[in-house]
């Protein structure tokens, strides 16, 4: 048996031991490969998809690759941790540390090669599925057919062989061969509880409260400036939360004998504190990674729903036409005729209304304001079945600025409320109420006055046109088609606005971003799950031994279930709950930035992640309990 044969057989005959590491490597390769299949699709390379999207995909690929590196490195080191005793034995038999490094290096190369190949094969199986999903999320004109991804295979293979090579060198380099006695005792010795200081525990709480407080307090554009400091503070706080505060709490619990010595609590807590150092690191990592995933997906989804919903909010009508100021009556009339003929061409049933928008000076003189006749307003309102407005004599109703406009400072209505509108004969109109409506939105808000008062106004400073069409329901496809035609006509292009078409365009442009974001988010989330899985199964043998010795003294199956259940639940939910809270705060801050309520979107995103985590927990628990029980009973 040569040394190479020994290293080779060590892997092949110990399949179970190497399985976890192998599978996580395989998973990483598979993720990267599926992404590559998507990114290198001929439809993108030949098609008219814009450069920004390509750049975005390049960056996303880079992120996944970098993340793979750290993920595999982590898997590797936790795998080596569990083999300390084996290395100790080899060294006792006379293996030099150089030989051990060589062995680890060879093992890594073997596993790396096989996981790259099988990852690519597994990725091929899922290729069609991922392309189908992409096709639906993306809204692209071309369909993404299945193709044989030669480029993706070559790129993935070369990248990961390189990656494994680097990691192998890296790991065999850092594999510290400590004192022999430490290696042999390896698993028996606690790495010790991290030191918990009261001061740092308090600091952890303060940092988290401070970070959350700031994130929830700031509004509007300041959110952007507060973001970086808040992220730093909260990350630090999270780290201290797991390494200090949680240790401190567990210590307190351990000191309290009536809690610690109560039935199975002793087994649970002693184990927690025994592994606290490893646990704290895993918890921190999982919490942060999951937070990134939640926030990324939440904000992308929220942003998309913000854009589309808000667009619908401002543009209540199917089609809006606003001519340029310099356009003459004739041009306006010609445009309207053209729009009508396009609508007819697409056989769209639509009602049309037009009004003249008149701007007047007020008592303040400095600015002009829009004043709308009640009857005009009500004609528009009738189209979209909004409430009519009937202002009294010498009174004006203020229509609030649309909520979509991000601005700091006082709202438009507050300014308008202070103004007075002069009428003929030294009389004034006094604004008396504020309404919010979808009918005719304006940047700065406007007044609605009754028809009689309107006639008494001085002549307008300037006047404008607004023409709207409201199509019957269920004609979205035709309207999108009409919108495309408006967009092609030079003279209509910037004056006409078809809401359904714009939303279609937004979704189309947003699709790749959403897809990539979703993809990366899910990759992060799944790897967070794998970290937990690793944590659990690294200690499995130790756990089995422990429960077997307790079972000899007498441990019922229910008690075993209880301990294992709580242990796994704590591992799975402690970091995720933290991440969910982080994500909720981040999304709330985001919604504050846009003055837009994201509650539905955030709860949908966070809720579905929580649900996935619960399912994941149930599956892992099932197998874990089964493993432990098989050994014990």
């Amino acid at each position: 048996m040569t040394f190479r044969q020994f290293a080779f057989n060590n892997v092949l005959r110990n399949k179970r031991l190497y399985m976890a590491y192998f599978l996580s490597s395989l998973f990483t390769v598979m993720v990267f490969f599926t992404f590559a299949i998507f990114a290198f699709h001929p439809a993108f390379l030949e098609g008219e998809i814009n450069n920004n999207v390509l750049l975005g995909m390049g960056i996303a690929g880079g992120i996944i690759y970098l993340f793979s590196f750290f993920f595999i490195l982590y898997s590797m080191s936790s795998f080596l941790q569990s083999r300390k005793k084996e290395f100790g034995l080899l060294m006792m038999l006379g293996a030099s540390s150089k030989q051990i490094r060589l062995m680890v290096f060879l093992e890594n190369i073997i596993i790396g090669f096989f996981s790259t190949v099988s990852g690519i094969l597994a990725g091929l199986v899922f290729a069609k599925a991922i392309l189908l999903v992409a096709e639906n999320v993306l809204i692209i004109d071309e369909s993404l057919n299945f193709y044989f991804p030669t480029v993706a295979i070559v790129v993935t293979f070369l990248s990961f062989i390189l990656l494994f090579f680097c990691i192998s060198i890296f790991v065999s380099f850092i594999l510290r061969t400590n004192k022999l006695v430490d290696l042999i005792k390896g698993d028996k010795q606690s790495k010790g509880e991290p030191k918990a200081s009261v001061l740092l525990s308090i600091l952890a709480a303060l940092l988290l409260i401070g970070g959350y407080g700031t994130a929830l307090y700031v509004k509007g554009a300041t959110v952007v400036f507060a973001m970086i400091p808040v992220i730093i503070v909260v990350t630090l706080g999270t780290y201290l939360l797991f390494t200090q505060l949680s240790v401190y709490v567990i210590r307190l619990l351990k000191k309290n004998k009536s809690v610690f010595w109560r039935k199975t609590n002793m087994l649970l807590f002693s184990d927690l504190s025994f592994r606290m150092k490893d646990n704290a690191r895993t918890f921190f990592m999982v919490a942060i990674i999951s937070t990134v995933a939640f926030s990324a997906i939440g904000s992308l989804y929220g942003f998309q729903s913000y854009l589309t919903k808000e667009m619908k909010q401002i543009n209540a009508f199917t089609i809006t036409y606003n001519p340029y100021l310099k356009d003459s009556e004739a041009v306006v009339q010609e445009d309207i005729n053209e729009i009508n003929s396009i609508l007819q061409g697409e056989s769209i049933d639509a009602k049309m209304e037009a009004m003249e928008l008149n701007y007047f000076t007020t008592t303040e003189q400095s600015e002009t304001v829009l004043i709308v006749k009640a009857s005009d307003y009500n004609r528009f309102a009738a189209l979209i079945e909004e409430k009519e407005l009937h202002p009294d004599d010498k009174e004006a109703i203020i229509v609030e600025q649309s909520g979509a406009i991000i601005s700091s400072g006082p709202k438009a209505s507050e300014k308008l409320m202070k103004l007075r509108i002069p009428l003929e004969g030294d009389q004034e109109i006094v604004p008396n109420q504020v309404v919010e409506t979808k009918v005719l939105t304006s940047m700065n808000g406007y007044y609605v006055v009754n028809d009689k008062n309107f006639k008494q106004l001085s002549s307008p400073v300037r006047s404008d046109h607004s023409v709207v069409w409201q199509a019957e329901k269920g004609q979205t496809d035709q309207v999108i088609e009409a919108g495309r035609k408006f967009d092609l006509e030079k003279n209509l292009q910037h004056k006409t606005f078809a809401i359904d078409y714009s939303i279609y365009e937004i979704n189309k442009a947003f699709g790749p971003m959403l897809f990539i974001g979703l993809f990366i988010g899910i990759v992060f989330f799944v790897s967070a799950g794998s970290f937990l899985y690793f944590r659990l199964f690294t200690d499995l043998d130790e756990e089995k031994r422990k429960f077997r010795s307790i079972a000899k003294i007498g441990l019922t199956e229910t008690e075993l279930n209880k301990v294992v259940n709580r242990q796994v639940a704590l591992l799975f939910f402690a970091p995720i709950v933290v991440a969910l809270i982080h994500g909720a705060v981040a999304l709330t801050a985001l919604s504050r930035m846009f003055h837009y309520n994201l509650t539905v979107e955030s709860s949908l995103v966070l809720g579905s992640f929580a649900l996935i985590q619960v399912i994941y927990f149930l599956i892992v628990r099932f197998f874990y309990v089964k493993q432990v029980k098989r050994m014990v009973f």
Binding site: K257, T264, S270, G554, T558
Partner: protein
């Protein structure tokens, strides 16, 4: 107290292996019995059957007139916890717990009140001379101390039957002597029945009666007379008779 009638154990497999054949054994209350025999004679199988870790293929085991093998799984765990005490060759202490926590573990699982647990642990620790190491972790103490901790754990719930599997197997002769004296005093003072499997004639000489088994069958038994020294000599003679000379027996069980 403990009564075995015609207990047999057959390990099924490609080639069925008969580990025990028709073992009849009775232990009185307060009696200290040692079981000896060469490697592979079935000592450990016998102990596993008595300790309910393994079920006999045929025959009956009665502990205080009850057959624990007829209990359900969960009841069996509780029975083990309440009626039996175990001492293992490799101590079987949990290294995530301190010495004190290891000792009270059986009571903790049973849900005893904290004050009661503390009192009992303190009392037993003083008796066994381990009161000074109560807050140490298991990897910070010596083998002899670890076995005393294991004895304390086995005794804390005042079991009716104490089962010891090579309690001196991992200890040097001085620590072995201490541990054996401790077991004798527990046996005399608490009137706890004691069953010990051992290779070590020195350890066996502390018992009231030594039962020899060979090839899964009872071979013979000898009772202790007045002097322990003479008893020790008789044990050595018996071992030589059974399988060549006395030095065949290593102190490490295979």
């Amino acid at each position: 107290m403990l009564k075995l009638t015609k207990v047999s154990k057959v390990y099924e497999g490609k080639v069925a292996y008969r580990a025990l054949t028709d073992i009849n054994l009775e232990i009185e209350k307060g009696e200290f019995v040692a079981i000896m025999g060469p490697s592979g004679s079935g000592k450990t199988t016998l102990l596993n059957i008595i300790s309910t870790n393994d079920a006999p293929t045929s025959g009956e085991v009665l502990i205080d007139g009850k057959d624990p093998h007829k209990l359900k799984k969960n009841d069996l765990a509780k029975f083990r916890r309440n009626e039996l005490g175990f001492i293992f060759q490799d101590f079987n202490l949990l290294h995530t717990l301190t010495v004190e926590e290891n000792i009270v573990l059986p009571l903790t699982l049973d849900g005893t009140r904290v004050r009661e647990m503390k009192e009992k642990a303190q009392k037993i620790a003083e008796n066994l001379g381990i009161a000074s190491i109560m807050n140490k972790r298991t990897y910070e103490i010596s083998g002899g101390q670890a076995q005393r901790v294991a004895i304390a754990r086995a005794m804390i719930h005042e079991p009716r039957l104490l089962l010891a599997d090579e309690p001196t197997g991992n200890l040097d002769s001085k620590a072995s002597k201490d541990v054996m004296k401790m077991l004798v005093s527990i046996n005399e003072e608490e009137k706890t029945s004691l069953l010990m499997v051992t290779h070590d004639p020195q350890a066996a000489s502390y018992s009231d009666r030594v039962v020899f088994i060979r090839d899964g069958k009872l071979h013979s038994e000898i009772h202790r007379g007045e002097s322990r020294q003479a008893f020790f000599q008789k044990i050595i003679d018996m071992l030589s008779l059974m399988g060549g000379d006395g030095s065949d027996f290593s102190s490490v069980r295979v």
